[in-house]
Symmetry: C2
Subunit: 387 residues, 2 copies
């Protein structure tokens, strides 16, 4: 059985004993993330993304009995929340491990897809151009590996950067980035904040040739958006996207010591609001007067980028798959695309079937190929059943 945060008595005891204490050093890993992903603001400082005063995008119910299909899956995959929309109606919704309809849950790298939608808005306003270099907006990046990467390359993760995304490796750049962002305890000599960290990264090879999953590319992109708009990423995200989403609840984003919103992974949103995001993306960025990003931008994110994909787990699973504008595309005939975050966060969108599947989880480890396969398999089964 998958123990809940309450069953594990995490953060209980006043003070909690060491083995139940969620800390800056352990909060991302299981079992501590069972509690932490629903209490991110208690571990890392967060800015509020206010929902504003606009109407909530309604999600009417059209429930179906999916229990036989899902039997065991939700528990086995450390689910915190799971929702399925078909044509904007909730056909299934489940809260586990203490999550409520009101609880913002960490998205990890699903956050990246929100950054993409924001780029669409700024491109439309003429504030950002995909062909320009990062250094044109952020002179401090000139001597970094990002300097001569284009905005488009940052979006497609085809900038070539010396960067290890090995989450469990203390010597990796991704852990160093966490430390600069306030996600892990600092080491002596660490860069002061995310900005300084980004400036410290070096180029690896030629940009634009190959997909390289480098989380920092999204943060470099966010810095570009800040300078292009003159506003903090958190403020930009709140006013240009979150307040236009028809969100039910405020969202959060973690911020570092310089107030930088951690674009690559720091957003926390409720299950339904994540589903709303998927629903809007499914419908070209807008529904019923609610619009989060221009329709042409959504189309742009669907262009075939398979030429960039190198061999690896993803290509093995999806030979026609690709990554574009911070979305993963399976290349299947249903047009499936998705955002995914470590430890089991998903927004899975199936245009042909008008389906959105959102899942929030607290898996024991960041990446587990068997867990990934189980998720993808279940999402396909749901699509077969409902589509």
């Amino acid at each position: 059985m998958t123990a809940t945060a309450a069953e594990l008595a995490l953060m209980q005891g006043m003070p909690p004993p060491d083995e139940r204490l969620v800390t800056l050093a352990n909060w991302q890993e299981g079992p501590f993330n069972r509690w932490a992903f629903q209490h991110v603001s208690e571990v890392v400082p967060c800015a509020v993304l206010g929902r504003g005063d606009g109407p909530v995008l309604p999600l009417p119910h059209a429930l179906e009995d999916l229990d036989p299909l899902l039997d065991g899956f939700l528990e086995r995959t450390y689910t915190d929340g799971f929702i399925v929309l078909r044509k904007g109606r909730i056909v299934f919704e489940r809260y586990c491990n203490g999550l409520t309809e009101r609880t913002p849950h960490l998205l990890q790298s699903v956050s990246k897809s929100f950054a993409s939608a924001l780029v669409g808005s700024l491109v439309e306003k003429g504030l950002v151009e995909l062909e320009r270099h990062a250094r044109d907006y952020v002179p401090e990046l000139w001597s970094s590996g990002f300097g001569d990467a284009t905005v488009g390359q940052l979006l497609d993760m085809s900038a070539s950067i010396v960067f290890s995304e090995e989450y469990a490796d203390p010597a990796s750049e991704v852990q160093a980035q966490d430390r600069a962002a306030g996600w892990r305890p600092r080491h002596p000599g660490d860069p002061e904040n995310s900005y300084a960290f980004l400036c410290s990264l070096r180029k690896d090879g030629e940009h634009g040739r190959t997909f390289q999953y480098c989380s920092a590319s999204t943060d470099a992109l966010a810095w570009v958006l800040e300078r292009a708009s003159g506003r903090r990423y958190a403020d930009l995200l709140a006013t240009e996207l979150w307040q236009r989403l028809g969100a039910e609840h405020d969202a959060w984003i973690t911020v570092d010591s310089a107030g930088f919103g951690f674009a690559n992974g720091g957003m926390c949103v409720t299950l339904r609001d994540l589903a709303r995001f998927g629903h809007l993306m499914l419908n070209g960025g807008g529904v019923n007067g609610v619009r989060i990003t221009p329709s042409p931008w959504v189309e742009h994110g669907r262009r075939d980028n398979t030429r960039l994909m190198a061999d690896g787990d993803f290509k093995a699973a999806y030979p026609r798959g690709f990554y574009a504008d911070k979305w993963w595309h399976t290349g299947d005939e249903r047009g499936t695309f998705y955002g995914v975050g470590i430890y089991g966060q998903y927004v899975w969108i199936v245009p042909k079937s008008q389906l959105v599947i959102a899942k929030l989880s607290s898996l024991p480890s960041a990446l587990d190929p068997s867990m990934t396969a189980a998720h993808h398999s279940m999402f396909r089964s749901l699509t077969d059943t409902l589509g």
Copy 2:
């Protein structure tokens, strides 16, 4: 002119230059608090006090022109928000320095009065008795100065503790407490968290003889409430109080590395929700089916405690004044009582005139006698005008 956070460009610049950077070391002081008191969760980790799904306590408008009376006062006193209720109707409401109706603002020691209301609920449930000692609930406090203080003494701040409340003195216990609570950068050898800090405090003289404003007494009280209820202070406050307040918005409380909600000063609430709290206290703890604390408890907090008051600024201003159950009483014929927090936070309640005045500010310094006098004087003038 009193510059706003925006005019000061605090936290602007991506990254902000040093002189505009709000840090854990400077956030409480002016001018940095102009920004920080509306962005506490970006500086110190916070737990959410969810408002739940209940109805909002309505605050109808009955506006009056108080501008001539208030002329210059709001700006001169670094106001962020100011609201006046008469018989539960808004007669005046003003937002300044970027504060909105939706923005939780730090309460500092007004937080203490919320702790008091919570005690009332737990006393009614038989979970806490005022005559029992802190050590009866929290054995760890046995050898500390709080061990043989009664719950009632913690409420009235008549426990005698070696504790300097000199906010500007780096050697004071109040700054040490801030460091343990995550409110200031840690020093080597500091206690790990608020619990350890409380255990480290020593007794000064006999308890129960004299009022001693010692913020830590409220945190010791909160620890008692945690153990008496088996629940974290933040959770207790959310479910037993905030969800019963008819609040419009979620509130927050800062938490330390052990998850302890900083009871003496860490709450952040919106202006109207603070006014709602005052309105409920004015009406014996409840209005129209909304009740945050038992009516007898509100009466209990009005008993005459003047015998405890020693000479000082407060006694000079209010010879018949006293402190009881975490409320200040002026001893005037209108029954005025109030909660106050450093840097200009107030909820000022005038029972005879059915008035509640709430003010959120970001004054340059923690305590300024001339500012205190200006506030009290204005609150009396408002009472004369409206009462």
